[in-house]
Point group: C2
Chain length 346, copies 2
């Protein structure tokens, strides 16, 4: 069906070797011959076959990316970060989203062999053991925000724990004592680290009995639904810290719909600092996660790994998060919620 190097060679009256040399700019070729070959290639719309080439060169110049089921702005941004960096270094991206099913993730990993030079795994579902078992030895892998394990692979993480601690301290500093935490999915690594940070910081204050944990799943809707549960509590929290921005926005919406004012009646904070966070009303106080950098760094690390060869030492890194104060938690100077009753609002 499609044109091969052989046909170009025939058209230009040379051997395939010479065509290859011209198209790859290697070896000495007479200028006239080269010109004739280039013309023939263009005329026939010749495009080299990537698969065939990678078979012999043992390089695909492609990076594989394994995504989790859960999408959203976060992953969009992350992939963008990876993509920009990968392209700059001359690599393509083979993206695949894994399924909840373990057999399917395995299948995905296997499908990558021979199509990519290395793998970036963003999916916490995929266990290191699965990777080990389904990849050739010394295959370069970078784990992002994954449960790490014994450290067979390079890994990259975001300081979810530290960010959560900082946020709780910020809220406490604003005078809040009863701070609820709206959790993410139990299996999610980010979610559990943020929860751990929350618990730690609350414990630090010495009144763990004020901890309130509410189930959520990272989607807007679960934030929206949490409002009802919060409003029906006997001792209502004066602040809610959501494990991500999407849920925080759901909360915001739910409260406002019920006439509960934010931040006057209840303070709200999120996590991730997604672009839209500054554009909701009131702008959301959040923890900034350098998402695109995270992606770029992962790509960097992977490329470094596969260019250095198998002898390289394991590398692990944690990217810092940063508290971003906007108005959804009120200002530290004269917050009106302080004058509200300690236990109820709305």
């Amino acid at each position: 069906m499609s044109v091969t190097i052989r046909e170009v060679a025939r058209e230009a009256l040379v051997s395939v070797a010479t065509v290859s040399r011209v198209l790859n700019g290697k070896g000495p070729v007479h200028a006239d011959t080269a010109k004739r070959i280039r013309k023939a290639a263009k005329r026939l719309h010749y495009v080299p076959h990537g698969g065939a080439r990678s078979l012999i060169t043992r390089r695909t110049t492609t990076l594989g990316v394994l995504l989790p089921e859960l999408y959203g702005e976060f992953f969009s941004e992350l992939i963008r970060g990876i993509d920009v960096c990968a392209r700059r270094k001359g690599y393509h991206l083979l993206v695949s989203s894994s399924h909840s099913d373990r057999a399917e993730s395995e299948e995905m990993v296997r499908a990558m062999r021979g199509r990519v030079d290395g793998l970036i795994v963003l999916s916490p579902d995929v266990r290191p053991h699965t990777l080990k078992a389904n990849l050739p030895e010394h295959f370069p892998v970078v784990l992002v925000n994954t449960a790490g394990g014994p450290g067979a692979f390079d890994s990259l993480a975001v300081d979810n724990f530290g960010g959560a601690v900082e946020m709780v301290r910020h809220m406490v500093g604003l005078g809040h004592r009863r701070i609820a935490f709206l959790q993410g999915p139990a299996a999610n690594r980010d979610a559990s680290e943020r929860l751990r940070g929350y618990r730690d910081a609350i414990g630090e204050q010495g009144h763990a009995e004020d901890a309130v944990e509410i189930a959520g799943d990272f989607r807007e809707e679960s934030g929206y639904e949490a409002c009802g549960r919060i409003l029906s509590m006997k001792r209502r929290p004066s602040a809610v810290f959501a494990a991500n921005d999407s849920m925080a926005i759901g909360l915001l919406c739910g409260f406002q719909e019920k006439g509960v004012r934010v931040p006057q009646d209840v303070a709200i904070a999120g996590f991730d600092d997604i672009p839209i966070a500054r554009y909701v009303t009131p702008p959301l106080t959040s923890v900034r996660v350098p998402i695109a950098e995270l992606g770029a760094r992962a790509a960097d690390l992977l490329v470094a790994g596969l260019e250095a060869g198998p002898g390289r030492r394991r590398h692990r890194e944690t990217l810092p998060t940063r508290l971003v104060v906007r108005s959804s938690c009120g200002e530290s100077d004269g917050p009106s919620w302080r004058s509200a009753s300690g236990t109820g609002y709305g």
Copy 2:
């Protein structure tokens, strides 16, 4: 470095052909032999080399996706739609975002040869001519929201025009006469179709002198910035129709910051109906674009095309949009903006 089928064959004391047969489930193989082979394969962590396999089978079971520079929730959702559908049909995804540079897009297209069975092009920058010149003949391609042209490829679009017309009519029905339009990037196909719909619908009302067009670029920030320009107008519009939701949210934020109430003082509408649209305050009236379906349909079409072979007729399709009325434009019963002065607010 990595284990090949030959080593598995040696380990299991059979020929490579038999190994291949077992691993692909083709041809009759003795149960004992099969078991021995499977064991050897597992022991050696054998994973078949995708490139080599696709070379001979002439199939990669991979779909290529060409993205534009601009990302965001829209593309995230679109890719998800493609991914779900592709996976269901047994295909992988090779994603590549094109650069503004034409040479680079060309490079991208070429890199796809031999790595994918077909291409979904979401990037309006890539011209059909470029595709023709850099792809083998009869290569299956589906164009999404692209300027179509003479129709050499399958193509899929969203009824941006119809959606914009519907929105303007809705606003007019609510009593608005002076409706501003916040434009998207000039080069963007969706943006220009929406603009065309706006102009058409405004003209339909017979008072084209009330048309106000403001430059924008689809990002939140440009919506936020537009507020200032709108507020400084001599004859202010009573409603603003943004070419997408991100800008509408920027507008919302900007107006509220300046004490302009939405929808009482000014009505706002967006386009796309991104998930977050219902969670801002007030919830955003928008035009629903079936993004995930658009992606899924594109994958569908592509798979159909490459399974049918080259003889298939060109297929083009337009997916309908749907008006989603929330409260950012006010209710049709008793909107308070009607009592406001016709020319100013705030």
